[in-house]
């Protein structure tokens, strides 16, 4: 057999095993290279060749500080947003991890729904709430607390609120993922050794959850850095972010060269952030960082421990400080904490017994979660009433009630055809993305070759790279292929964006799957394919259904790519709503939004049922 000289697979002998992995991982990798990497590359080309080689666009960026300022705005604003998301999100993630009640499911739905809620729905709702004569101002003025309406919109505050609202799940979900993998026996051990609940949380749980916090920070920050729709609708011109600059270069000025150069700049910044993150925490943490189930590989004892990366504080300390300084710092920190603990013990003696009996920790946790829950649900509570009104314009509270808007929606050819297109595209994406993603996940989870994290990074990169860059890239490429304005074009682009979700779900599903079952089946005489269909598939089916649903939602709600690729005969529902906001601001948008919300909630409930079933099907408990 000839040797393939690819650097990443040089350790593989070309056995049947290798070919199997190539067939599993190959299709997705090839797909991404054609429909994602190559288009990105052509953006780079566009920035440097217009059509002859020129550095004028990059020089322009350097010469006029405007663009750098936009980048700086983006970094500044996103840092604040990330901080707020983490602070609000940590209690929620903790609650979701430890709670067994059905409140947890409801809270989970409330967390994830804004994520899937069309960006326009969300913005409408916040405009109703934060507007000059919106809900908040009406309330405060009605109570006489303020005289003139507060400026809550069209400024940084508006941007913060709107963006925290949509980025929240990016912060919470990785944290939940990691927290669920923390062995609760450790906490019990700490209790046994005499620490208070707070101490065992602070000293045991908190450090172990840092990888999740790190993943949450990375995802949130990078996703928000690339966003432009919310800042455009809810912010002021002073806070223009880089992605908005890119979009306006395309729409207003049609300067593709400069837009491409700015995209390259954004891309580079994102990659740098990603590498910084990888240096400290490792990409594995991105998809949950669940260590391989300990009881599954008992012989690997110490090795299993080393697969968990040390906490981030330790890593920073190791890099910046030497041994002595580190020890000295340690002593100072622990000494300080001891003092604080002593103080608390002294103070607590002064507190009456019955107050001590109340679990303040749980009370605090529950109130924070409840408060956040209200914030998450509030916009939905605004949109739904508007959808059931008969008003001609957006009003809150609505002046008339009825199903008029729904009737208009269902009788309008424009809205109905865009809904149809959305469904058609989403169905195809769901199938294509799930097939490509599941095959790749099989290879990534089961394979034992080096360089896995690079493949992971490639596959997950559409989720990391700001959507606008992907959208422009696809636009260039598809225009050449005459795919703009076609359903096929939409399907191809959406698949690129949906595959990361599928892979994340499927890898975590497959990680929990016990391979010994497959081996037993093959021992008993079944071939590979039969084993797959009779053993593997039924067990991972709930996971596959979850992946399918995620892919569906990812495509159905997608807006930025649609903005570029849609055409007269193929317009999706979100694009229709976006046009609607700009051209008409018809409250039909509210009823379309309400329907989207219902659909999303329905699908999320389905997903959570599937997850429960999946967990029951694993032959080994996770805790």
């Amino acid at each position: 057999m000839t040797q393939l000289n690819l650097p990443l697979v040089k350790d593989l002998k070309l056995s049947g095993d290798t070919w199997r992995h190539i067939f599993l991982l190959g299709p997705l990798v090839v797909y991404l290279c054609v429909f994602f990497i190559y288009p990105l590359y052509s953006v780079l080309i566009q920035s440097l060749f217009d059509p002859k080689f020129t550095t004028e666009h990059y020089l322009e960026i350097v010469k006029y500080s405007v663009y750098v300022r936009m980048l700086w705005n983006a970094l500044e604003i996103c840092a604040v947003i990330t901080l707020m998301c983490i602070l609000l999100g940590y209690p929620i993630a903790y609650y979701l991890t430890i709670s067994e009640s059905s409140w947890a499911t409801i809270l989970m739905i409330a967390v994830v729904t804004p994520f899937w809620m069309s960006v326009l729905v969300r913005t409408y709702a916040w405009m109703m709430i934060l507007g000059r004569y919106g809900v908040v101002n009406d309330f405060l003025m009605g109570l006489g607390i303020i005289e003139n309406p507060l400026d809550l919109m069209f400024n940084r505050f508006g941007v913060y609120v709107g963006m925290v609202y949509v980025m929240f799940p990016y912060a919470v979900l990785p944290m939940v993922s990691v927290m669920k993998g923390i062995d609760r026996n450790l906490m019990r051990a700490a209790d046994n050794l005499g620490s208070t609940p707070w101490q065992s949380f602070k000293n045991v749980f908190l450090p172990l959850s840092f990888p999740g916090v790190g993943a949450g920070i990375l995802l949130t920050f990078i996703r928000s850095v690339g966003s432009f729709i919310t800042p455009t609708l809810m912010g002021s011109t002073r806070d223009t972010m880089l992605a908005q600059g890119i979009q306006s270069q395309i729409e207003e000025v049609s300067n593709w060269g400069l837009a491409s150069a700015l995209s390259v700049m954004l891309f580079v910044v994102v990659i740098i952030l990603f590498f910084i993150y990888n240096r400290f925490l490792g990409i594995d943490m991105l998809w949950g960082g669940q260590q391989k189930n300990q009881s599954k590989t008992p012989a690997k004892g110490p090795a299993a421990d080393s697969s968990q990366k040390p906490g981030i504080i330790l890593k920073i300390k190791n890099t910046l400080w030497n041994e002595e300084r580190a020890t000295a710092l340690d002593q100072v920190i622990w000494g300080f904490q001891d003092r604080v603990d002593q103080l608390r013990t002294t103070l607590s003696r002064a507190v009456p017994a019955f107050i001590k009996k109340i679990s303040w920790n749980i009370f605090g946790l529950n109130s924070v979660c409840f408060f956040t829950f209200i914030l998450l649900v509030f916009p939905i509570l605004i949109i739904i009433p508007i959808a059931f009104s008969n008003d001609m314009y957006l009003n809150f509270p609505p002046k008339t009630w009825g199903f008029g808007l729904f009737k208009s929606y269902f009788s309008s050819t424009l809205w109905m055809s865009s809904t149809k297109v959305s469904f058609i595209v989403a169905f195809q994406v769901m199938i294509l993305a799930t097939i490509l993603g599941t095959l790749a996940s099989l290879s990534l989870v089961r394979g034992t070759y080096k360089g896995k994290s690079y493949w992971y990074a490639l596959i997950l990169s559409p989720m990391i790279i700001p959507v606008i860059i992907t959208a422009i890239a696809c636009y260039f490429f598809f225009a050449k292929l005459k795919l703009i304005g076609t359903i096929t074009g939409l399907v191809l682009a959406h698949t690129v964006l949906a595959v990361p979700f599928v892979v994340i779900v499927m890898t975590s599903t497959l990680k929990g799957f016990d391979e010994e079952l497959e081996q037993a089946s093959m021992n008993l005489g079944a071939g590979r394919i039969r084993t797959f269909f009779n053993i593997t598939f039924p067990i991972i089916r709930p996971g596959i259904i979850t992946a399918v649903l995620f892919a569906f939602i990812a495509s159905f709600d997608e807006l930025v790519g649609a903005m570029f690729i849609c055409g007269v005969r193929a317009t999706t529902l979100p694009k229709q709503m976006w046009d609607g906001i700009r051209d008409e601001i018809n409250p039909i948008i509210a009823s379309a939004s309400a329907l989207l919300i219902f659909l999303t909630i329905f699908l999320m409930v389905l997903i959570s049922i599937m997850k429960r079933r999946q967990e029951r099907l694993y032959t080994q408990k996770k805790r």
């Binding site: 002073r238 223009t240 636009y475 703009i484 046009d579 008409e584």
Partner: protein
């Protein structure tokens, strides 16, 4: 999988069938009630008369038009190009030459029927304000008043582009309407900086400006007069004045490489008929470009139009060529100003 194939095949046949039976042209305009007007007044009668289907869609975006022409895959046969887009398009050569023998060129106002475009309407940006705050005659009367935040305190709304802001600022600085162009961009931006703290937000489309006024997010807005007139008709307390307004032409153009060039030309000729222009003008509250159309427009509507002589002389006629020549510098200066 089977179901998907079925849907795909069905759609394919459907589209094939559709295109086999009837030719169709696609018109790209600005959406909402504007498009409804095009459909009802021009589109449906045209289809009845010629059998050619008319599809109306939204938002001409210049970069998309360029890509369509360059790739040869023209989706928008007719584009409703506003003056600056028109000037750029002529410069970049993306429009087809029109067969002007099909229309009555003399009937058109000056500059409205050219080699590459036939004007459909004249629209305007006007100073509009809330009559709740300033009832009767107490509202602002011109741009200087608009800038006078002591006499007329309250949040303002302006367009997000340099276009209309530079003119407004020039007029506020005292330049009379007929001497606005060429604009001293530095001076205009300096004047804009004065007003900036009072500009609550920037509107992107006519509908957006309308919504801002409706939600009372702003008390004054320099936005499309026609839309605000519509609001007045619905009973909202707003008013529109004509002093220091901007008058802009919208041209019907055909994109180069369109596969339905003759049908598109027929449509443009159809739409240039005086009676139909009059109907469209009344619907949109904008001005017709055909002189004969005014015979058919009611007086109470005519006084609202940019082309009504009284109004026309109080406003600035947009100079698209100046924009086309200086676009890079203007855009750059504007981007820098926005971030301050």
């Amino acid at each position: 999988m089977k179901r998907n194939y079925f849907i795909i095949v069905f759609l394919f046949i459907f589209f094939l069938a559709g295109s086999a039976w009837a030719e169709s042209i696609t018109i790209c305009a600005y959406g909402g009630t504007y498009n409804t007007g095009i459909e009802d007044i021009f589109g449906k009668p045209f289809t009845e008369a010629t059998g050619i289907e008319v599809i109306v869609t939204t938002r001409p975006i210049y970069s998309k038009m360029k890509v369509q022409v360059k790739s040869g895959n023209v989706e928008w046969d007719i584009v409703d190009a506003e003056s600056r887009m028109y000037a750029r398009g002529v410069k970049d050569g993306i429009f087809e030459e029109l067969d002007l023998s099909m229309i009555d060129v003399d009937d058109f106002q000056e500059g409205a029927a050219t080699k590459y475009g036939v004007a459909g309407i004249y629209y305007s940006y006007n100073i509009t304000y809330s009559t709740e705050k300033w009832p009767g005659d107490t509202g602002p009367k011109n741009m200087k008043d608009y800038w006078n935040v002591k006499k007329f305190p309250g949040p303002r709304g302006m367009k997000l582009t340099a276009f209309s802001n530079l003119e407004a600022a020039s007029m506020a600085a005292g330049i009379p309407v007929d001497k606005v162009y060429p604009i001293d961009v530095k001076l205009a931006l300096k004047k804009m900086t004065e007003l900036k703290p009072h500009i609550r937000t920037f509107w992107k489309t006519g509908a957006h400006g309308q919504q801002l006024m409706r939600d009372r997010e702003v008390d004054l807005c320099y936005t499309s007069g026609g839309r605000i007139y519509q609001m007045m008709d619905q009973g909202f307390p707003v008013n529109v004045i004509w002093q220091d307004s901007m008058i802009i032409l919208d041209y019907w153009t055909i994109l180069k490489g369109s596969k339905h060039k003759e049908a598109a030309m027929k449509w443009i000729a159809f739409a240039s008929d005086p009676k139909r222009q009059a109907a469209f003008a009344e619907w949109t509250n904008y001005g017709a470009s055909s002189k004969k159309a005014y015979q058919y427009i009611r007086k109470e509507k005519a006084v609202r139009m940019p082309t009504y002589p009284e109004n026309y002389k109080k406003g600035v006629l947009c100079d698209a060529d100046w924009y086309a020549e200086n676009e890079k510098e203007i855009e750059r200066a504007w981007e820098i100003w926005k971030l301050k």
